[in-house]
Symmetry: C2
């Protein structure tokens, strides 16, 4: 075991994030359905009983990855827009920031997009259901966050007045749809895509 | 059996579409995972062996629904844009048409959006794989179709020159994202959503 790995597996808290990282890499690379739960346990170097302590199922782990990605996205948008005055610039920076991610965060965003279905139906397991509820609250928070950016621009006279709930959903739909087709080895870099999408989103709300 | 049902189940061809309709209603209402294949057989009034003649699995049926929706969308866009000259009007009408659907077509569009993942990985069954390939070709055709609408507008000087491949994907991402959250009993009618989305898409490409 390297020093780095040792440090990463020291406390229960860091073990949890090691499991999540391994799960993101596997779900992102071979897909959720094709990932064996035992593979995660092996990679992290713990038994399945110990793994169960952190996540009671593969779905529970997936829902946690989704909530975490939603939370990360919500907080990042708050951070980067807080100090900006100009409404259009707020939107531009918020969109650019959505694509300013590490490779693992990009995988996490793709996993979130691919499994949004999971947020629709109630889970019979309590821990899964708690995580699903957390994700649903965050989805609504993010919609409100973007609707507020749009509404502020309308009040400031920078954007035409339109239904900001629908508009924020369209904006988020535009941004998130990229994770469906973006691949690190694709024809466009994430930087190029970020520029084009940010421009498109600013025009969309004007 | 009513006269209408009799007519609908007369030929193998119409039986196939009766099965598809029942599958759309069930997948759309209770979800693909929660729909039992036997329920479809019961509703249509055939045995599971006969059902197998048309679709070898629930996934095969789902992939067929997805291909059919893609084909419907591709053809409708062709039809409605063919006679229009103005590039922005072409985009506006294409988007409006995407939302000019029957309740069952709306369900079909939602099913397509929710299961796009299925198009990524190869299927081991030959019939499923053939249907997946058909869907993938249609996805590309639709992207080209919209990219062409955008490129025509650029050449005509109506839209600014930008990467039309990324732009067509953003446009389709914006339009398709609606099917994730639209519900017939929701706060907005499909007509209102169509207007707002069409306006947003025209601004997006300008």
């Amino acid at each position: 075991m390297t020093v780095q790995n040792q440090a990463r597996t020291e406390s229960p808290r860091s073990k949890r994030s090691v499991i999540l990282d391994a799960a993101i890499d596997n779900f992102g690379r071979v897909g959720f359905e094709h990932t064996k739960w035992a593979t995660i346990a092996d990679e992290v170097g713990i038994g399945q009983t110990a793994l169960y302590h952190y996540f009671e199922s593969k779905v529970h782990c997936l829902l946690t990855i989704m909530s975490n990605e939603l939370e990360r996205s919500f907080e990042r948008t708050q951070q980067v827009t807080a100090e900006i005055e100009d409404p259009a610039e707020k939107i531009r920076v918020a969109v650019m920031t959505a694509f300013d991610v590490t490779p693992r965060e990009a995988l996490q965003a793709r996993i979130l997009m691919s499994h949004q279905d999971l947020l629709v139906g109630q889970r019979s397991s309590k821990r899964e259901e708690a995580e699903r509820q957390r994700a649903r609250v965050l989805v609504r928070d993010i919609e409100h966050e973007w609707a507020e950016l749009i509404r502020d621009g309308m009040f400031a006279g920078a954007f035409e007045r339109r239904d900001e709930q629908v508009l924020s959903r369209l904006l988020l739909g535009t941004v998130n749809s990229v994770w469906r087709w973006y691949r690190p080895d694709g024809a466009h870099t994430l930087g190029e895509i970020a520029d084009l999408t940010a421009g498109a989103c600013v025009r969309l709300v004007r």
